[in-house]
Amino acid sequence: MTDIMGSAPVPASRARRSSLMAQDALSKRRNAAEARFKIYGIVAIVIAMLALVWLLISIFSVGLPSFRQTFLTMPIELPADKLDKSGVRDVAVMSKVTTVGYAAVIQAALEKAIKEKGIDVGTMTPKDIAGVISLEAPAQLRNYVLANPELVGTTIDFEVLANGRIDGFFKGRVTMESAQLDSNVKPEQLVLAEKLTEAGIMAKRFNWGFITAPDASDQRPEAAGLGVAIIGSFYMMIVVLVLSLPIGVAASVYLEEFAPKNRWTDLIEVNIANLAAVPSIVFGILGLAVFINFAGLPQSAPIVGGLVLTLMTLPRIIIPARAALKSVPPSIRDAALGVGASKLQSVFHHVLPLAAPGILTGMIIGLAQALGETAPLLLIGMVAFVRDYPGMPLDGFFNPASALPVQVFSWTTRGDPGFVERASGAIIVLLIFLLIMNAVAIILRRRFERRW
């Protein structure tokens, strides 16, 4: 350790002259190195923190606007001669009128509203005027009318989505200059949108549809929602919970309390440690080969996703569960055995309840990881475009569905820039779920974990 003091030996004469009051050159250098080293550490931490903040700010600033959406509210006449020629209000007959028929109704309503408010539309064609409304609006109106057939013949106040580009204009994504270059929107339409806003027809409000509606096609980012994805993720989490909690607890109890120390248990232990570090995409390949090609389960079904995520999560649950069991002191077991309990009774009546908070915490964190996992789900077909809500359990587990993180991915692959905003919004929803789960885990740990 001599080189700590620097290479040159200190001459005796200088050493005598050194003072406690004034630092000599070598001490100065060493103290400076000390300060520098400390600063490196602080800088490293600050960079890590800044990266976290930057990541969150960038996602939130892009994603938050997706929760608010531009709507047009106007009175819409529902002419009986167009929507229900038979006049019997029979839904089966009325559903023969396609969305094209409803589009005409909406267009007429918008033109009337524009006239009433005295808005000058200049030389715009009727098609351009109707272009400020979402392509999804006729379908919305049609569903609403088919659900309430008695409304035909009356005038209702109805709220329809504005076109994604118009919505983008109010959120700063589309400008007059970009509209000039864009074949999907014209500057005149943006001017009209501004006037409609002044007239109170067009307004931005919180959009529940983003959370409840199903996905929408490429040209309709404004109508795309997370409904199917949230249900799909929820179903998968149920499958993961139902399978991995009993299996995970049983496996960790066996390995920690009962397993004899031999090569076989060693093998299982090494196996679990390695499985926890296997790339998640490999589990996707496993799911594709075993559950879909071999067992013939349907593609994009939550049951397959749940099974794959269960296999992936199990080792990540077993490891903390074993740690929790290990932290229960042996005196508890000895006391139980001492009063005549069997080994199994001592574990199930005493050790397991005491380890339960730790096991549950690990379980919730494992579930949270599974909720955010994307790659394996891509391989089992969860990227498919699904617009129908899956049914109720248990049948619903076999229906096609999407999942939150996969929905994010499929939105990033779409062409319309409106989908980037949607994808970031979906991530905010995902992060909120993760935050809740982790908060529950932390509270559980704080309240119930015992330190022995």
Partner: protein, 486 residues
């Protein structure tokens, strides 16, 4: 009968088993539980276990073996001419299954009767048209041989389902009566049920082994399949990756391995200094208060799903690097690049390096620090010359684990690194990795049995082997290191 219905019956039988076995035990002892060897509920427990467990095991085994048997029986029925090789056979099998499902649907909707199907011939009736009526769209007209196979498939399936119901319920009932017959005053019900339970626990711990087995088996099997279609030498040593749908692809893994290693290298270049320095600061300098705040904050980075990082790379980091670095330097104009993916992945990997290194540095005995400080070394000198050398093996293990994490990472590279397989040194160029290509080959529309799809399994196997070696090596180092100071 459906699986859920059978399960329900078995469960009801088990509940009955519990109640009856308990009652029987009490009856044997004349109502005095003290005379029994085991408490009455343990007698009940044996009733449950003997009813449920064998029945469910039989059912699971049946469901696992069933598809193999079906496949063999049906494939044998299809003439050689229609299914010349593996690829077409898989397609024909899919047709058979779809047709059978269509017939089921037609029957359940009442459009067809079983007797009708028996007499139907694909060359005489328009099967495709009939099925279209019930909403089952078939791709092409149905061949007679395929139709016969579908009929046979339905027959086997129905017989199998009937047989399974019989066998499973018989097992359950047999278990039930076996449990009942064993009950007596001296029956050691507690010992029996406990041994049974421990067996079940051991079975649960086998799931992990089965998973590994499943991974290895499916990867090796399909990879071997791939190598019958594509020469292994060209795969492992080919420098060109250009899959063509419709055959004639060149599938060399080297550009993908290069991309993977390049991205991971940049990620480690970011993560190792930052992670290591913050671990050192947190374990050696920081006060307890700072530590309790900063440590969880860094670990948040590990809890964020990788798709979030992927989107971050796509919408923020990528365009930023392109506009301020790549374009002014004239190195490229692509927003997805090795640099983008590497930087973002580096951020993701920081907590893996820092928290493991933190543990390891904390495990270095305090006496070593004290000794160094006592001879007059400053704190940073102690860290650099005493603590770090002592912790080095562990830190290397942590870095290797982080590297395996980076190599297996998918979403960040899918969204950040690009899709072009290239062997280039320019970090601002788009390159691609093994994981990206697994995703793109398996989510495409090509038929499953083609080399273009099966190559994903060979890639998966390579990835599995690489990460497994890194993990085993890293875990070995970390374990050895821990033992050293315990």
């Amino acid at each position: 009968m459906s699986v859920s219905l059978i399960s329900l019956i078995v469960v009801i039988l088990a509940v009955a088993g519990f109640i009856l076995a308990r009652r029987r035990a009490l009856a044997h002892s004349g109502g005095d539980a003290r005379k029994l060897h085991s408490l009455p509920q343990y007698h009940g427990m044996t009733g449950v276990l003997f009813t449920v467990v064998p029945a469910f095991l039989v059912m699971i085994l049946w469901l696992l073996v069933q598809p193999i048997v079906f496949e063999n029986r049906i494939t044998a029925m299809i003439p050689e001419a229609t299914a010349a090789d593996d690829a077409t056979r898989t397609l024909v099998m899919a047709d058979v299954r779809r047709l059978a499902a269509g017939l089921d649907q037609a029957v359940s909707q009442g459009k067809l009767r079983e007797a009708d199907i028996e007499g139907m011939r694909a060359d005489l009736t328009d099967v495709r048209g009939r099925l279209a009526e019930v909403g089952v769209a078939l791709g092409s007209n149905v061949q007679q041989s395929v139709f016969q196979a579908a009929k046979a498939y339905r027959l086997i399936r129905n017989t199998s389902s009937l047989l399974m119901t019989g066998v499973v319920l018989a097992t359950a009932v047999a278990g039930f009566f076996y449990a009942m017959s064993r009950i007596s005053v001296d029956y050691r019900a507690r010992n029996v049920s406990e041994r049974f339970m421990i067996g079940l626990l051991a079975l649960a711990s086998l799931v992990a082994v089965l998973t590994t087995f499943g991974i290895v088996f499916s990867l090796v099997f399909e990879t071997w399949h791939f190598f019958t279609l594509y020469p292994p030498f060209d795969f492992f040593f080919g420098t060109v990756w250009s899959p063509r749908f419709g055959g004639g692809s060149t599938l060399g893994i080297l550009p993908l391995i290069w991309g993977t290693l390049y991205v991971s290298f940049i990620a480690l270049l970011v993560a190792v200094p930052i992670g290591l320095m913050s671990a050192i600061y947190l374990s050696e300098y920081a006060s307890k208060r700072v530590r309790t705040v900063v440590k969880p904050l860094i670990e948040i980075l590990a809890g964020i799903p990788t798709i979030v990082y992927g989107l971050f790379a796509l919408i923020t980091v990528g365009p930023l690097l392109r506009d301020y670095f790549a374009m002014p330097l004239g190195l490229g104009n692509s927003s997805s690049s090795v640099m983008t993916a590497g930087l973002v992945m580096g951020i993701m990997v920081i907590p893996f390096v820092s928290s493991l290194s933190d543990d390891i540095i904390n495990a270095v005995p305090q006496s070593m620090r004290d000794g160094s400080l006592a001879v007059g070394a400053t704190q940073s000198e102690t860290i650099r010359k005493v603590v770090l050398p002592a912790a080095l093996p562990g830190v290397v293990g942590a870095i290797l684990l982080a590297a395996s994490r980076a190599i297996g990472e998918t979403m960040i590279v899918v969204l950040g690194a690009g899709a072009a397989a290239k062997l280039s040194l320019n970090p601002f160029e788009a390159m691609t990795t093994i994981t990206v290509k697994i995703v793109s080959q398996l989510t495409g529309d090509t038929e499953f049995a083609s080399a273009e799809t099966l190559v994903a399994f060979a890639l998966g196997l390579s990835l599995f082997v690489i990460t497994l070696c890194l993990n085993v090596f890293a875990l070995y180092i970390v374990r050895k290191y821990r033992e050293q100071y315990e």
